[in-house]
């Protein structure tokens, strides 16, 4: 059975003190995975039901919208500006080989609209707001504030999660639209002012090749990613265990899971949208 063990701890006399069987560990991980998927599904069902239940919490919604939306404008503008400028710098050299520098606006615009803007926005907001969401709800969990709400007949999912999920759903597309505009502005500056591309040609190619559907598909993706981030991060907050260390661990897991989750979802949505919007495949 030696091959089935992944770790063996022995004392100085060579006697085995601890064996961790690989099969058992894999089994535990699989059970844990399905348990988490099951709990998350139940959490989502409760969330959907809570969304349609009165009272509608406009105050909490706008508070969260301000935190996720307004307070993130700077970071989203800065990151999308950098992405637009760097991407242009890289792509313009490649296109120079084909004397097609004028196409750079269209290439950056298309990539930003369909993929880069929603993904960059989502990843930045997961880092900034997702981790905070988990930590805030997780701290409330370990200090029994969620239990206190329950004793007052207030559903914590209705009070805490629904406003966050809806605020993310609406804020993500708005910030993605901003990322599109700022990213293109960065691209324009690099292409036109630093690399001498004709401004008329830049804009002409951009409007010819970038369709409103491209922008629209990116905004839909952003909205779905917003929903996913808020639901996943709140779920991990609700499942926080044991004090400050547990809060940190929950925040890390939430950030990793939602980042991987939105990338997987992005692939699936990209495939679907190519079929729906562009009749490809």
């Amino acid at each position: 059975m030696g091959g089935w063990y992944i770790a063996t701890v022995a004392n100085e006399k060579g006697r085995k003190l601890l064996n961790i069987p690989l099969v058992s560990r894999l089994y535990d991980r699989t059970i844990l995975f399905f348990e988490t998927v099951g709990s998350f599904s139940i959490f989502c069902i409760r969330l959907i039901r809570a969304m349609f239940r009165r009272p509608y919490r406009f105050k909490q919604f706008f508070e969260q919208f301000e935190r996720i939306g307004s307070q993130s404008i700077g970071i989203i503008a800065l990151s999308s500006l950098a992405i637009g400028m760097i991407f242009t710098l890289q792509i313009i050299n490649l296109m120079a080989n084909f004397q097609a520098e004028i196409m750079v606006g269209a290439v950056v615009g298309l990539t930003m609209a369909r993929e880069l803007a929603p993904v960059i926005t989502a990843l930045m907001l997961i880092a900034k707001n997702g981790s905070a969401m988990t930590a805030e709800i997780g701290t409330m969990k370990v200090t029994e504030q969620l239990d206190a709400m329950k004793t007052m007949s207030v559903d914590p999912i209705h009070y805490l999660v629904v406003p966050r999920v809806l605020a993310s759903f609406f804020a993500f597309p708005v910030l993605t639209a901003l990322a599109n505009v700022v990213g293109l502005a960065g691209s324009y500056v690099v292409a036109v002012f630093l690399r001498g591309v004709d401004p008329g040609g830049f804009m002409d190619q951009l409007f010819q090749l970038v369709d409103p559907d491209d922008v629209f598909s990116g905004l839909i993706k952003a909205a779905v990613m917003g929903l996913m981030m808020a639901a996943i991060c709140s779920f991990y907050g609700f499942n926080t265990k044991q004090g400050a260390q547990g809060v940190g661990q929950a925040a890390t897991t939430a950030v990793v899971t939602s980042s991987v989750g939105i990338l997987v979802a992005d692939y699936i949505m990209a495939d679907l949208m190519l079929k729906v919007f562009y009749r490809v495949g």
Binding site: E144, Q145, T151, M152, S153, V154
Partner: protein, 250 residues
């Protein structure tokens, strides 16, 4: 003596760990009942079943003869409004000010919308717990004793019939602990609220309680008035009592 809450055959286990193994106890109306027991004996778990934030594996809890766990969701919510719970660490919402904390159950639980009524009730409760000046302060700026008082003010704002206290004096110095115990007596006398305490502060328990239950090994091993409980021949309870009162003599 009418019993407002009756716990019957309550069982709860977490994995292989049996915490409650058929608890039977009744809480008389408008009296102070204390549940005593060792740390980890399941006192908090018991009280969380009474307020309905945990569901039992077997057994049930009756409120005025009505099975809480068999009631409809709507009725459960109505019954829950009759209860309030003061958590061990007060569980104040740290993103809200003290005023907002006390106003929270008024708005969210009782559905009061009139701002004047809310403001007046908040001031009354703050006045009652002797902290009229801390309304605009956040809970993180308060001491442990002050947090307990604000927690009590928040529970009183719910106008409960039954008030559950989870270790109300744990972590407080003797003077503060005494003042919290006095507040519990005042709550019971002034507002005629049934008080249920879980504690391992034996001396205070015998001073303020009308009835006592001793939880051990997942069951209530002794119950009755303080004078009845003190005569119990349960060895652990006897050790519990003698240790506490010996400490007092020292």
């Amino acid at each position: 003596m009418e019993e407002i809450v009756v716990v019957e055959g309550l069982k709860k286990r977490f994995g292989a760990n049996v915490v409650l193994d058929g608890v039977d106890i009744a809480f008389p109306e408008k009296k102070i009942t204390s549940i005593i027991g060792q740390s980890g004996s399941g006192k908090s778990v018991l009280i969380k079943h009474v307020i309905g934030i945990m569901k039992p594996d077997a057994g049930t809890v009756y409120y005025r003869g009505e099975d809480i766990f068999r009631a409809t969701k709507h009725r459960q919510r109505q019954i829950r409004h009759k209860f309030a719970y003061l958590f061990q660490n007060s569980a104040l919402f740290d993103s809200l000010t003290v005023e907002q904390n006390i106003a929270f159950p008024l708005i969210e639980s009782l559905g009061i919308k009139d701002k004047d009524v809310i403001k007046r009730t908040v001031s009354e409760k703050l006045e009652w717990v002797g902290l009229p000046e801390v309304g605009k302060v956040f809970p993180s700026e308060l001491s442990g004793g002050m947090r307990k008082r604000i927690g009590l003010a928040r529970t009183l704002a719910m106008q409960p019939e039954v008030l559950l206290f989870d270790e109300p004096t744990t972590g407080l110095d003797p003077v503060l602990a005494e003042s919290i115990n006095d507040l519990i007596i005042n709550v019971n006398r002034e507002f005629a609220i049934t008080c249920v305490l879980i504690t391992h502060d034996i001396q205070a328990t015998f001073r303020i309680s009308d009835y006592i239950g001793f939880l051990y090994d997942g069951q209530i091993k002794a119950k009755g008035t303080p004078s009845e409980v003190v005569r119990s021949d349960h060895p652990v309870l006897q050790r519990f009592i003698s240790n506490s009162f010996n400490e007092l003599e020292v």
